[in-house]
Symmetry: C2
Subunit: 481 residues, 2 copies
């Protein structure tokens, strides 16, 4: 009657005979059946009953479970809590409050008793109801695949798994099993109340659907099985894609290579970013809508940009990288030249060498014209070096960070100035790189934006007599991308 239970306990739930299993026993036919199957199969069972104190008979039921466990020689733990008060306090439905307190109790006991798992009596009918609820809600594969034999509910415990050995067993079969074993389940009258969505689905919707397909329950159960297998394949694909596309992962930060992401199907993006968000903040509520915003952000924004998401997480795009950034993340700045956080202005003497964070080095020296042809210096293509007219650079040289209202006369745009912030925006320099970008200034005016271009007034001309040569080099000697 109970199909291939040994294999489910051993292969699917991965239970061992050596360590105890905390079995959630309400006293209904499902949980009694589960308890007895595990006991008869030789697993060390600890009966755990949570008295919700929501019904008149709840104390009697708790006693019954305790006595039954004692009669079978099983240890039992009975606990109760004020579900209504907790629901009021946390603004939860009675159902959600009961569930939260019950699972807390089960996993606390599991830890205390060094149990290998918490086992619950969800049946094939529960599976069908779950799949149907997800279907009504518009869930994706992850919901439609239903419950799994073995899972970790990290909200309650990150190590001890929850196992559901009865997912292949119909509720009716557990009733027959209990009758056959002389176990007397009690029946929860709240299961019949149509106030609860799950009960309406059980007592009204499923019978309706059975008028369309007499074997609807078997069909939905099979759908769950089949989608579980699909989900397993998908998870492997996501693993492979993750390895290929994640550039780095650290506390609160995952960086993707967006050029590699581009080669993946759209659906993979959802899975990759779901995983990234979950790793950064397991409590973030990742809805379909959130992932929709992520994929639009990936597809549409070609430039830089930022997208705030749930759970304090945001996306940043920088060149060909996508950052998934949590609240605690320390973003890597080593790719850009930046002034140290304790030095907004660094006065320069000539010659000089200034060490900047991340291995960047700024140098300045005097040159005589004959050292290089004028044209060569004018047509310089390395934007991390520049030759300027020393006689124009008046009022004291410094490296400084930007300040409000900074303007700049681009090369070749005589008499026309541009806001520094607009210049950076045009150049798609990420916002967070701008704050401490080093600017070479003469008496406050910007003379050179290292990595970009010199200001027109300070450029080298035929009339120039004295020259200053500036460089900004990184260990990698690359232009900031």
């Amino acid at each position: 009657m109970l199909p291939s239970m040994d294999s489910i306990l051993h292969d699917q739930c991965r239970l061992e005979f050596t360590r105890p299993i905390v079995v959630a026993v309400s006293g209904g036919p499902d949980s009694l059946c589960l308890m007895d199957i595990l006991r008869q199969a030789g697993y060390p069972v600890i009966v755990a009953h949570f008295n919700h104190k929501l019904r008149e008979n709840s104390d009697i039921e708790a006693n019954t479970v305790e006595q039954m466990a004692a009669r079978l020689g099983l240890p039992s733990i009975i606990e109760s809590a004020d579900v209504r008060a907790f629901a009021d306090e946390k603004k939860l439905s009675i159902e959600d409050a009961a569930r939260t307190l019950r699972y807390r109790f089960l996993f606390t006991q599991a830890r205390e008793h060094k149990a290998q798992a918490v086992a619950v009596g969800h049946t094939a009918d529960d599976q069908v109801e779950t799949v149907l609820m997800h279907f009504l809600r518009g869930a994706g594969l992850n919901g439609l695949k239903g419950m799994t034999y073995r899972t970790v509910l990290s909200v309650f415990d990150v190590d001890i798994p929850l196992v559901r050995p009865l997912l292949d067993v119909w509720r009716e079969e557990t009733v027959v099993y209990c009758a056959g074993q002389g176990l007397r389940p009690h029946y929860d009258p709240s299961n019949d109340s149509l106030n609860f969505l799950r009960n309406r689905i059980r007592h009204l919707l499923i019978p309706t659907l059975e008028t369309y397909n007499q074997k609807f329950r078997e069909a939905a159960w099979r759908t769950a099985q089949s989608l579980t297998a699909d989900h397993e394949i998908l998870t492997q694909s996501v693993d492979v894609a993750w390895t290929r596309s994640v550039v780095s992962e650290s506390d609160g930060l995952v960086i993707f290579d967006s050029s590699i992401l581009t080669g993946f199907p759209l659906g993979l993006h959802r899975y990759l970013f779901r995983r990234a968000i979950e790793r950064i903040n397991p409590a973030a509520d990742i809805t379909y809508a959130v992932l929709d915003r992520v994929t639009s952000f990936l597809q549409n924004g070609k430039k830089g940009g930022a997208l705030p998401l749930n759970g304090g997480i945001r996306l940043l795009r920088e060149a060909n990288q996508i950052f998934v950034v949590g609240e605690a993340a320390v973003l890597p700045f080593e790719r850009w030249p930046q002034l140290p956080t304790d030095a907004d202005v660094i006065p320069l003497t000539i010659p000089c060498q200034v060490e900047l964070p991340g291995g960047w080095k700024f140098t300045c020296e005097s040159w005589n014209i004959p050292a290089l042809a004028l044209e060569q210096m004018q047509n310089n293509e390395d934007q991390f070096q520049v030759w300027l007219d020393a006689d124009k650079l008046e009022g004291g040289l410094s490296l400084r960070i930007r300040s409000d209202g900074d303007r700049f006369e681009p090369l070749g745009m005589e008499g026309h100035t541009q806001k520094l912030s607009d210049f950076f925006t045009n150049e798609k320099l990420p916002q967070r790189a701008r704050e401490r970008w080093p600017l070479l200034c003469a008496g406050g005016a910007i003379a050179w934006i290292p990595g970009y271009q010199p200001a027109h007034p300070f450029r080298l001309t035929k009339a120039s007599r004295r020259i200053l040569y500036f460089t900004l080099t990184s260990p990698a000697k690359k232009k900031a991308e």
Copy 2:
């Protein structure tokens, strides 16, 4: 109102402006909307109307469509057929018969007019109904993902695609569109008949589900979108797995390396074998149950074996290969030594060289004992060569195929004989290799099974005076696996 239609026509349906599109126009709001959107977007539309002749007004409706097309300057094709007669003849429901004849008509016209595609007006509502029907039936991902913007119905045409540009548009929106464009759709009264499953789903079940989730239709539509993306990822995984695990593919035959299959998740097996079966026989009906039998066969049978499937297809297991074999397949025998089909017995002279199919060669020669130490010959480990006692080999030497009741005295089992068929079974030699396996016989008795062992009576002993040396070699000189 009609969301991002340009992108759907261009990116999803992949329509071009240069070649005509055969548009299926029933005259209802969906198809009129589709026709007009394509026309206004500048695509070369051919209006195709199939008159099912099932209703009183069907001729009038056909005329209306023809006139409307003429008024808009579009070419039109009207055709009718006797749907009822076809349904009776083929034992189909009226719905199925109508669909088959209609699609035949559409694709025939598409070929004749060198059209790039056949376009049909399936809407978001049709999508929801389709998904729901699949869900009720217990479909897997492939069904639950719903209809696609562009697909090939190979039953009707292997080249010309079917496109569905309105999958994002709700039926109500097409009504509004037609009103706005001054198009007058007619309404098919059979759409209201609750005799058809689809109509019951539309008019009864969906409104019921909307009492559970007011936005059920949007939810189901989103499920289809999300599962379509998942399906795309899966298909890529299957592509990769196919390349890795398929050893060879030819007409009616796909050979998998089962040791590579073992490393894949269970779900992938289903997809790989579904693909193999579809390639061999596109008409084979591959249900979940069929794939279940395939996966059990893969998991359980460790030895050889065969499993007949639908559509004249069977699975064979041989060593570490799984064969998916269609009716027309020619199985590869080149791996085994086999007697030619026109020679059940080949008399041998000494010395001799016999060429066998697939490059195998049988040789026989006389040896003098001093040529090799006796022990070396006795402890020979190459099972494709043997030294036998010439004085025991009486009654004429031959190579022959097995015959009923063949028995054999294994080496070291003096006085005990074994059925040849049992011997082959123990050795896991595939059934189909046994039929023409060459046996060295002396006067009818089996003296050596090349590739395995000599028979005890013919072995070399210290008393042996004359020796015969036999070899069977393949070009690869490998033991048959």
